[in-house]
Amino acid sequence: MKVDRVDPTPEHFRRLHPLTPLLRGWGFLALAIGIGGQDALRSGEMGRFGLTALAFAVVGMIAGLLSWWFTRYGFDGDALRIDSGMLNRRSRRVRLDRLQAVDINRPLAGRLLGVSELRLEVAGGGKAEAPLQYLAVDDAVRLRAELLARAAGIDADTPEAPERVVHEVPLDRLVWSTVLSGAFVAGVVFIVGLGVALLFFRDSEVTVGLLSSMLPGIIAIGAALWGQLGRNFAFVLAESPDGYRIRKGLLDTQHQTVPPGRVQGVAMRQPLLWRGKSWVRLDVDVAGYSGESSDDSQRTSTLLPVATYEEAAEVLRHVLPGSDPLSVPLTHAPRPARWLRPFGWKRLAYGVDDHVVVVREGVLYRNLTTVPHAKTQSVRIVQGPLQRRLGLASVHVDTTPGPVDAVIAHRLPAEARAIAEEQAERARLARKTDVPEQWMARYRQQSVPRPDGHADGDGPPAASSERDQE
């Protein structure tokens, strides 16, 4: 309670939605049924099971209520502050200038009850900084608008910016893209194969064995259906001054907002079976979006689940303003690379322009990775023993964790060294002109002369001018 006395929660701070304890109490109830059920089975008394379950439910409800009562959030200066905990008070401040993305998620139960979860992604934290579970739908939307306005460096009461729909994924295309995915096809082939085998073996034991080994195939199909179709159902990509917005989901819905200049890299990918339709998908790296599991990262880093090449090219130009990654001239990998990539070496290529570095690779699963120079975290040259014998080296352009990795593989040593040095220099120059963290502030500041040519003018313009005044 010490924090309370020193730094009490301001009066105007708000609580989460009153239904929160109910929605978050699921875990407790499941535990009660698990433990109580075991106990009941062992003793054979169903009455005791009911009592245990009830006791757990009551305890869970009380704990949930207390936690709800002591959790409050609000704006404290330029940061979002969340106070929680009854005995161990915790006060967390989320700096909004580092805001990378704001998501509003609505799980199925939440949709039925009219509440949603608001997630903030802030650079630095490994996982989502502070999921506010749960808020009334209107509150969540209002809070998101305020968060984005404050992070943009404009008045907090600015209403939500208007948006323009860039792309909607038609349902039939989404269904077909699922059917043509590797996992789905493999699952179907597997099941059909086992089905054919069933026709030949009439033995009952073999039949049971065959039927049960169909399970992995069914799981693969289910996962493909869920991952592509269920999650990306009714996918809408829109753009607004706040960056791009994504809405999607069949049962659980997700609304993502990624402000301008937060895209750390984009990959255009094409599975083998999509080639006939010339469909591609786009994945992005956004700092903080990677999550702990690859499932999490898959869920949040889809920019377009399926689109034609032309549509994807259009979107690519939107999220990486000032450059056209698809028309960057590419340099092929040298001949010795064929020993290390017997099939892919002819497609292996990279290119740079003023804004981005582009890497193309993959024969069956085609891949075009784009990383803006300004988002380069570090540059590495790596040379393994085989590469040394062949006179090759790879250059890695490191970005924040996520599905997009730019590796300029297998170049000649002189070239590799030059790429690395030049990339470091390009990144240095690009950082100076990158979108500032407070992305709307640049419009306000345009009348103020910028401290260009300053020795350490690398920071965002807003920060440098502050420093000059000191």
Binding site: V382, A414, R417, P436
Partner: protein, 164 residues
């Protein structure tokens, strides 16, 4: 360009890490090999008798000789250079690496020194960026040099800091 120049220093020469790192690594190697060999020797000796112990001794000797030969080579491969805008770190014998980290991309600097390292007056400095792949670790720095590097890096990092 010749193969060696791929990892050539940007200026005159790489700044090398302390030679005490070789002594430290040798000591660690000796302790590890002795411990592992002792455990394996006792277990195999109890099962197979003397015939079980001899291969263990042989393997331990080979590991020891190989390690003692490898450690100085590995030490020689370490190098770093502070340039105006970035830090260069190189290391590795089998897999050779060169990392360029712009100061402006630095999130934080770690200085670590374990009990053995402290006995030799050494410390490890590691630079972290927003990418976990960044491989900018410099082991075996004398404590004073580590402190100097840390201060310089954090000062430069702050001066050149850029948003993500």
């Amino acid at each position: 360009m010749d193969q060696d120049q791929l990892f050539a220093p940007p200026g005159e020469a790489w700044q090398q890490v302390s030679h005490k790192l070789v002594d430290l690594r040798r000591l660690v190697l000796l302790i590890t090999v002795t411990l592992v060999a002792a455990v394996a020797g006792v277990v195999l000796g109890l099962i197979f008798g003397l015939a079980g112990v001899l291969p263990v001794v042989g393997a331990a000797l080979i590991a020891l000789v190989w390690g003692l030969w490898l450690i100085p080579r590995n030490w020689r491969a370490w190098g770093y250079a502070e340039r105006l805008d970035d830090l260069l770190v190189t290391h590795g014998v089998m897999y050779r690496r060169l990392t360029v980290v712009p100061y402006g991309r630095m999130q934080f600097v770690d200085v670590a020194s374990g009990p053995l390292e402290r006995r030799y007056g050494l410390a490890t400095v590691q630079l972290h960026t927003a990418s976990p792949a960044t491989d900018a670790k410099i082991p075996g720095l004398p404590a004073a040099e580590a402190a100097r590097l840390r201060d310089r890096l954090s000062a430069l990092g702050e001066a050149q800091a850029a948003g993500l």
